[in-house]
């Protein structure tokens, strides 16, 4: 069954990435370019995963847009991960409740 192969590959790859360096690495990386790539990679990944997917994440564009704006606003205020996630959800939820009434 392909699903179990998927799960096995994900668990294996994710674990090895964490384990091999922690278990065996003994030196320091000094190349400024390489350090840069490693440093910027998570932001690049999250960016390309979030846009445009966030705009379709609630199945309806208006509530998704309001939720996105809420997340952007709280992100600018440097609120915690959980606060931003919950407020974005709440904003999208309230919008989709109000929308049919307009």
């Amino acid at each position: 069954m392909k699903l179990y192969l998927y799960l096995l590959v994900m668990a294996g790859v994710t674990y090895l990435i964490r384990m091999l360096p922690l278990a065996f690495f003994r030196k320091r990386i000094t190349s400024p370019f390489l350090l840069g790539v490693l440093h910027y990679m998570p932001f690049a990944v999250l960016g390309t995963m979030t846009v445009p997917a966030i705009f379709t994440s609630t199945g309806e564009p208006v509530s998704a847009l309001v939720g996105t704006l809420a997340a952007l606003l709280l992100g600018l205020k440097r609120r915690s991960l959980i606060e931003v996630a919950l407020f974005a959800t709440a904003a999208a939820y309230v919008t989709s409740l109000i929308l049919p009434l307009l």
Binding site: K2, L3, L5, Y6, L7, V9, M10, V13, T14, I17, R18, M19, L20, P21, L22, A23, F25, I29, P32, L35, G36, V37, L38, H39, Y40, M41, P42, F43, A44, V45, L46, G47, T48, M49, T50, V51, P52, I54, S57, T58, S63, G67, T68, A70, A71, G75, L76, R78, R79, L81, I82, V84, A85, L86, F87, A88, T89, A92, Y93, S96
Partner: protein
């Protein structure tokens, strides 16, 4: 130098665990909608303990992607853990054995790394185990609750929860972009490349997993080329 034990680890892990519980709840509701069975999601969360990697993985799985595509996607997205692991090696107490390093490495996530790497003094094996335990329980339990109790929620609420995981990503992206021009550049480059690869008909043959890999690697390279990081400044 001061060292910390299991109890201190558990205490430090509590807020992380509570945060993971609610985010993985939203993740599971979203993932069930992509067509992945609930039990598989619990196994996935219990063995991966990572948000971005799991969202990308579920996307590739739902599209019936190739195993090599899935492996490459996880490699690129989770590459940051390799750097965090390298950084942590500098702080491990000397009595850490090889198998203890192998066990502790399972718990390297952004939040656990942030807490452990900023702790004063050396990291002990009991501390790392204590630190990882509540986040692991929170992440796996939240996934189970979302996968099986999520169906009990009203449709409007469960639709709105689809944005939760992206909200969490925004909470990482926006402050990062505010603080560093390089990060802002990496995000803009990766997002622009991603939009081109997704919407220009010429690239329609690329699946979602490869779009993420290509746009993220190129975006990070462009940022690293314009704004390289001197050794010592990019590790925290």
């Amino acid at each position: 130098m001061e060292a910390y034990g299991y109890k201190e680890g558990v205490r430090d892990g509590l807020p992380i665990g509570l945060g993971y519980l609610s985010v993985s709840f939203g993740f599971a509701i979203w993932a069930v909608k992509q067509g992945i069975p609930g039990l598989a999601l619990i196994v996935l969360s219990g063995t991966n303990l990572t948000s971005a990697g799991q969202v990308a993985g579920v996307t590739v799985m739902a599209a019936g992607g190739l195993l090599v595509e899935l492996a490459l996607t996880e490699l690129v997205i989770n590459l940051r853990y390799a750097l965090m692991s390298v950084t942590l090696t500098q702080k491990l107490s000397p009595e850490f054995s090889l198998w203890q390093r192998m066990a502790a490495s399972f718990f390297v996530t952004d939040e656990i790394f942030a807490v452990s790497s900023t702790r004063k003094g050396l990291l002990t094996f009991p501390y790392m185990m204590g630190l990882g335990c509540l986040p692991w329980i929170g992440w796996t339990l939240g996934t189970a609750l979302g996968a099986f109790a999520g169906a009990l929620l009203p449709a409007v609420l469960s639709a709105a929860l689809g944005i939760a995981i992206y909200g969490m990503f925004m909470a990482i992206l926006v402050p990062g972009a505010l603080e560093e021009k390089g990060v802002l550049l990496a995000i803009c480059a990766a997002v622009s490349l991603g939009l081109i690869l997704r919407y220009v008909p010429l690239f329609r043959f690329l699946s979602e997993g490869f779009v993420i890999i290509i746009s993220a690697v190129l975006g990070a390279c462009i940022a690293a080329w314009r704004k390289p990081i001197e050794a010592g400044e990019g590790e925290a």
